[in-house]
Amino acid sequence: MENKHLVSITDFSREEIFRILDLAAEFEENPNQNLLNNKVIATLFFEPSTRTRLSFESAISRLGGKYIGFTDASSSSVSKGESLKDTIMTVANYSDMIIMRHPIEGSARWASEVSKVPIVNAGDGANQHPTQTLLDLYSIRKTQGTLDNLNIFFVGDLKYGRTVHSLLQAMSMFNTTYNFISPIELQIPNEYKMFLDKKGLKYYEHRELDEMLKHADIIYMTRIQRERFSDPMEYEKTKNSYVLKNQMLEGTKENMKVLHPLPRVNEIHTNVDENEKAYYFTQALNGVYTRQAIITHILGLK
């Protein structure tokens, strides 16, 4: 039987996405289930990502499973020059599933072709991070009651933001309207605009974070990183223009929620945290349920 993997969000059909979201809702109701009894899951983090790793390890622990792995490449044989293929083929002998984060793009796809156990991509460079996308979808459906016909505002680094690109692709199945707010240096790449054109979906681009927000069902904030700017002056000029403050949420829709993949630096003012429209910490909690759903679904336990 061919292994199931989760490498790219585009590998999943609409039906499979709904299956995962429904399972995640079950785990939210009842998070501690002993489904991974006697299972060993490998968490291979070739680059550190504390949040994602802890979320996976929490999911495995709540399912009664054990995990093995490393938290960055320097503490593994990779530092001795071992190829990814060799690492994966070896670890596949020790585990029932491999969850991996790797800085090189396409590494998870390659791993899925050489591994005899399922691979879950926990981020491959700037390419894909499908479990983040699924938890975003879960958070959107939970707060909006639906994924259909929503108006989503993406704010910040839309050029390099992998989470933005994957969520944009996934939401294109649901007649979404897109609004992109970013400095010109970090605007949404042409290939994604062409993708939306092809799908016949509406999108708008803005440079200002302003009263447009009153049309939003979801505001998806991302971090603007200094190193993305070739001119440090440009960074200094733009960094404060894309900060969400509590008073900006006045007049926004009742159902509107603010999402952020975290970590946040200063792009959401801490005075937003107390607003009931701030959803990013619950979103992180949803990540555990969604990952429980992904693991059990791929292993055929649910």
Binding site: S8, S83, L84, K85, P103, I104, E105, G106, S107, R109, W110, D124, G125, A126, N127, Q128, E191
Partner: protein
């Protein structure tokens, strides 16, 4: 004059294949893709002929060599306008154009320096996303390589 020239070149082999309308700059890439350096048949390469369509074109004449469509279509990446004349007993018995395939295995290099195929010994795999201005999407990193940045392995 031009037509007569071509006839002369074509009729110069008894049986074999003539590949015409190769962009002159890509002649050596075509040689490489078809593995002509490993074939022991007689062959003639001509380059930098004037062409209205291509500016400068190259031509390859191969004696006793015939290609399957699948094989010859590989050169579409670097010579999308190429035309083939199949010669039998000094006569052109068939003319073919190359067709950009839907999938490409090997041959091209992914332009993304952070792609796994540029870090480990992996045979590249692409799906062709545009056939007119050739653009290919990497099976691994999902990035698009366009004609301008295409490198042949």
């Amino acid at each position: 004059m031009d037509i007569n020239d071509k006839k002369l070149q074509v009729s110069a082999i008894k049986d074999g294949t003539v590949i015409d309308h190769i962009p002159a700059t890509n002649l050596f890439k075509v040689i490489n893709i078809l593995g002509l350096d490993k074939i022991e048949s007689q062959m003639t390469f001509g380059s930098n002929f004037e062409s209205k369509k291509l500016g400068l074109k190259a031509i390859i004449k191969l004696s006793g060599v015939f290609f399957a469509d699948k094989e010859i279509n590989k050169i579409a990446l670097v010579a999308p306008e190429a035309k083939l004349n199949i010669i039998k007993d000094y006569k052109v018995v068939e003319k073919k154009v190359v067709e950009v395939p839907d999938n490409i295995t090997g041959i091209a290099k992914c332009m993304n320096p952070k792609c796994i195929t540029n870090h480990e010994g992996i045979v590249t795999k692409f799906t062709v996303v545009s056939k007119k201005d050739v653009a290919i999407k990497c099976h691994y990193c999902e990035k698009i390589t366009d004609a301008e940045h295409m490198e042949i392995k």
